[in-house]
């Protein structure tokens, strides 16, 4: 066998080993319900913020504590604790990916990814809605 072949085999082994270690770090996207069944396991939870429930962030008391309620499309909801500052555009987001784990009844979130309509500028539906809002303004103004 040639050196190059040995080298090739070694490198392939390295790739497989590194991908295998990576596999052990993989996690899954989950709904609130399935995250509950995996209590303590790190998951990515897709949900949105329940705006009917209070979003509490008081930087004077604690700049590293945000609590809110997340709700998903299946109708499940959970209280979420995020030990960091409230992200920009938090209330505006239409969807959030919460990275963390269920601890008891509370989802302890390590990272929040927001999906905001403002960033989806090219989304035709968002655009349409915006035009509707624009078009409603004159009606309001017309009233005495």
């Amino acid at each position: 066998m040639k050196k190059m072949h040995i080298l090739g085999l070694v490198l392939i082994a390295v790739v497989i080993a590194s991908l295998l270690t990576f596999m052990s770090d993989l996690t899954t996207y989950d709904s609130i319900e399935s995250a509950r069944t995996k209590e303590g396991k790190f998951v990515h939870m897709i949900a949105k913020i329940d705006t009917t429930k209070p979003v509490i962030y008081d930087p004077i008391k604690d700049p590293n504590l945000l609590t809110f309620t997340a709700i998903d499309s299946l109708g499940f909801s959970t209280k979420v604790v995020y030990k960091n500052a409230k992200p920009t555009d938090f209330e505006k987001s239409t969807r959030v990916v919460l990275k963390g784990a269920m601890v008891g009844e509370v989802f302890e979130c390590k990272e929040i990814l927001l999906k905001c309509p403002s960033k989806y500028k090219d989304d035709p539906n968002a655009q349409k809605n915006q035009l509707k809002v624009v078009s409603e303004i004159p009606k309001l103004n017309a009233q005495p």
């Binding site: 190059m4 991908l19 504590l65 990916v97």
Partner: protein, 821 residues
């Protein structure tokens, strides 16, 4: 049919015409160059080549015209056009109008096609041997890029998106378009540029990055041309300068993106292994591998297949990265949220990728027998052996990065739901630190080997000194450098230390190679310079990341003395600290004070003034003091105002302090529910409030008849009060009350730490009253994060040196004919 007023329709029609012209002329150019390249008869080949040349020049001119036309729409704020409405705004500064241009999908494809046209014109001018086949590829790319801008319907399928569509055609159902005067009435302003993109890096970074992307097709075109013209050897020489150019520019573009992230976005650093960053880096890694295997081929005749593979793959990966970032498949994983244009762009890009894979694969199958394979084994003491090992390592790291980055795409393909686990950066870093370690080692030693074979004695005689110096230096760094990043255990820390050594080794040994072996001659210096730069980049990355320090460490909830700790904290220090206006707050080694803010009304940007002071422990009289001015855009929305924060930084040569605002209580937002409580007072009185008392020292009354110092008001009541809190803090305040033309007005005074607002007032009875309000609304504060990045400047300096190295090599290759095989 409604007749609309105020629209500028002519410019859009011109735009549409030019779009179609670009498409047709690229199509003709591609066809003509194909015929020319396929023909072996010079009489047949020439006229086709000439036609191709003319067509390509027309398409290049058309692309420039397209560029200008779209810019006119944006510059003149023609909001009847969707592109202008979506990406621009009247209040935007002129320099950002260019950023609007490439914020959108269409504009960035146009930028790419602009560079492709320019590179094509360059090739037409300089390339003599492979003109037709190379230009065929360039024209084909031009054709694909033009097709992204077509926006025409083929049956029910829309091909591309046209940047010249009108709002009213795009949203015909919207009620505003019932009004013939809609433009002047409703579409008076655009949506504007995403606030994160309003940064000078956004003006300069995309053109450079896109030049990098666009130029990666040229090496590919030469590889294809080599097969096509059955010149499996000659293409490498023509390909080399273009590869060097592309690698230099792409590297620069990527690092400009990193600098932008570092300076303007709140990622907390320059590199976050974000899919968009990864997708641009992977083609670069492969291109670098390709440059090294081509060098091997030029000097030894080996690694031809590998060169083909790397050069072709590099361009395919550029297309693939476009696919990942443009079609929305990355969805939930990236902080960059690029939107999908829906399934058309998805299949459109897949078609493009498959086309550019098919061309070399078909040619390879046809011509593979002609590829020379050297079956003789290379010596371990040869330069080519170690260069090849390095190239393979680059390939492995590229595969690792792209597989992880593509995870969301795999999820889409196979219906799985996998995601990278808890610490995304560590998942990359633990592999990449090994790659850096071995690459550093290889980069340090390989130049000292000669091609084919080298005697061990020679290598050791040359390598001994740099090895010794680098070992001594890195031991010093390890011992005194306080690199103690142990978050992921001792193994990872050890790997960091070893990687620091090999980075130092790379810098020292390549610099010494330049001096001792090349004797400072510039002829072959490019690679050594690039390698020194690369070493510095590695060193800068390793040091700045492992010694990155959180200044705003908060273990107590809030860093203000006197306020109680938040309950039960876990192991990780929390990263935000709240600063109350004018209250010096200890933070790490500093005492930090929020001194105020000012708002730039034009674009609602708030600048914060934050003072950092550090007393020298050995000499208390000398204080290191500086001011940092982070800023933030204030976005007004129905849900309440939001901040979009830009960091402020203090740059030193050896480190940067980096601050950004995570939360700000905007005084406009506060609903003050507390009300004033009035008490009649006289000098000497004491009035209590919840946390202490107020002593009335003095009350002065004046009117303009007996006091000429009062020209502005008729009469005035002035007071001097002392506020004493329970903790024993005192504050002097002097509220006042004025009357002019029978109208009274307050001058209130506040004691921030006590949430106290004080005023005086004259009651109807004629007595003076103290008005006292306890309200949290007087509390002005910000919440911020602060970091220190040591030696980050080495990363930027390394980048500049590395890119210069590429350019030196490029220049030497263009100048000399030395590199003939």
């Amino acid at each position: 049919m409604i007749k609309f007023t105020g629209e500028h329709l002519l410019i859009g029609q011109i735009g549409n015409f030019i779009t179609i012209l670009t498409f047709c002329s690229s199509l003709l150019a591609a066809f003509a160059f194909y015929r020319s390249a396929s023909s072996n008869d010079i009489l047949e080949e020439r006229p086709w080549a000439k036609l191709g040349r003319v067509s390509f020049i027309i398409s290049a001119v058309a692309v420039v015209a397209l560029f200008v036309t779209l810019y006119i729409l944006i510059y003149n704020h023609y909001f009847e056009y969707k592109y202008a409405h979506q990406h621009s705004k009247r209040s935007l500064d002129v320099q950002y109008l260019l950023s609007c241009f490439w914020e959108g999908q269409e504009g960035s494809f146009m930028l790419w096609s602009f560079w492709n046209a320019m590179l094509g014109l360059m090739l037409l001018k300089v390339e003599k041997k492979f003109t037709s086949p190379v230009m065929f590829t360039m024209s084909l790319v031009q054709l694909f890029l033009a097709s992204f801008l077509l926006g025409i319907y083929l049956f029910d399928l829309r091909i591309g998106t046209n940047p010249f569509v009108l709002m009213r055609n795009e949203f015909p159902d919207a009620p505003i378009f019932q009004d013939p005067n809609y433009l002047a009435k409703y579409l008076t302003d655009g949506n504007g540029l995403n606030i994160l993109l309003q940064n000078y890096w956004m003006v300069i970074h995309p053109p450079i990055l896109f030049l990098g992307f666009a130029s990666s097709v040229v090496p590919y075109a030469f590889a294809v041309a080599g097969f096509w013209k059955k010149d499996l050897v000659g293409w490498v020489r023509s390909c080399m300068p273009w590869s060097l150019f592309s690698a230099g520019i792409l590297g620069l573009g990527i690092m400009m993106g990193a600098a932008w992230a570092y300076e303007s976005l709140t990622f907390g650093g320059y590199w976050a292994w974000d899919p968009v960053e990864n997708a641009s880096m992977v083609p670069w890694l492969i291109l670098i591998a390709g440059i090294h295997t081509m060098l091997i081929f030029q000097h030894t005749g080996r690694s031809l297949k590998a060169s083909y593979f790397f050069i072709i793959t590099s361009f395919i990966l550029v297309l693939y990265s476009t696919f990942l970032t443009r079609t929305g498949v990355l969805g939930d994983t990236s902080v960059h949220s690029f939107t999908g244009e829906g399934s058309t762009l998805y299949w459109h890009l897949i078609a493009m990728i498959l086309t550019f894979i098919a061309i070399p694969v078909i040619l390879y199958i046809k011509h593979q027998r002609q590829i020379i394979v050297n079956h003789q084994e290379e010596s371990m003491n040869s330069r080519e052996f170690w260069m090849f090992v390095g190239s393979l390592l680059l390939l492995i790291s590229a595969v690792y990065i792209i597989v992880l980055t593509s995870l969301p795409f795999f999820n889409k393909l196979f219906g799985t739901k996998w995601a990278i686990g808890e610490d995304v950066e560590y998942v990359y870093n633990r592999i990449m630190v090994m790659v850096a370690m071995i690459l550093g080692m290889l980069t340090a030693i390989t130049q000292y080997f000669k091609y084919k074979d080298t005697t061990r004695k020679y290598i050791w005689s040359k390598l001994a000194i740099p090895t010794a110096i680098s070992i001594v230096l890195s031991i010093l760094i390890s011992v005194f450098g306080e690199v103690s990043y142990d978050k992921f255990g001792t193994g990872f820390l050890l790997a960091i230390h070893l990687a620091i050594w090999t980075a130092v080794y790379t810098i020292i040994s390549n610099a010494m190679y330049l001096i001792t072996v090349l004797k400072g001659k510039m002829k072959a210096a490019g690679s050594s310079i690039a390698h020194v730069g690369f070493g510095m980049m590695l060193f800068g990355i390793l040091i700045s990341s492992s010694k990155k320090e959180l200044i705003s460490e908060n273990n107590t909830g809030i860093g203000v003395p006197g306020l109680k700790d938040a309950k039960g904290r876990e192991e990780n220090p929390l990263e935000n600290v709240t600063l109350i206006y004018n209250v010096p707050t200890p933070m790490g080694k500093y005492t930090v004070t929020y001194l105020g803010d000012s708002t730039e009304l034009k674009n609602n940007k708030v600048y914060f003034k934050i003072n950092f002071a550090k007393a020298d422990s050995s000499d208390p009289s000398s204080v290191e003091e500086f001011e940092v001015n982070p800023n933030a855009f204030l976005i007004k929305s129905p849900e309440g105002n939001q901040l979009s924060s830009n960091p402020g930084s203090k740059h030193y040569i050896s480190n940067d302090v980096f601050v950004y605002i995570t939360s700000w209580l905007n005084p406009d937002n506060i609903k003050d529910t507390a009300s004033f409580r009035n008490t009649p007072i006289a000098a000497g009185d004491t009035i209590y409030y919840s946390n202490g008392f107020v002593i009335v020292n003095k009350i002065l009354t004046a009117n303009k008849y007996d006091n000429t110092d009062l020209p502005l008001v008729d009469s005035a009541w002035l007071s001097e009060l002392t506020v004493v809190s329970k903790e024993g803090r005192t504050a002097q305040v002097s509220p006042a009350y004025f009357v002019k033309d029978g109208q009274g007005s307050f001058k209130t005074d506040t004691v921030m730490q006590q949430n106290l607002v004080l005023g005086i007032q004259r009651a109807k009875s004629g007595r003076v009253e103290l008005a006292l309000k306890e309200s949290s609304a007087v509390m002005r504060y910000i919440t911020l994060k602060a970091y220190r990045f040591p030696w980050i400047n080495l990363l930027w300096l390394g980048t500049i040196i590395m890119v210069s190295g590429f350019m030196v090599s490029l220049y030497q290759r263009l100048k000399s004919k030395l590199y003939v095989v």
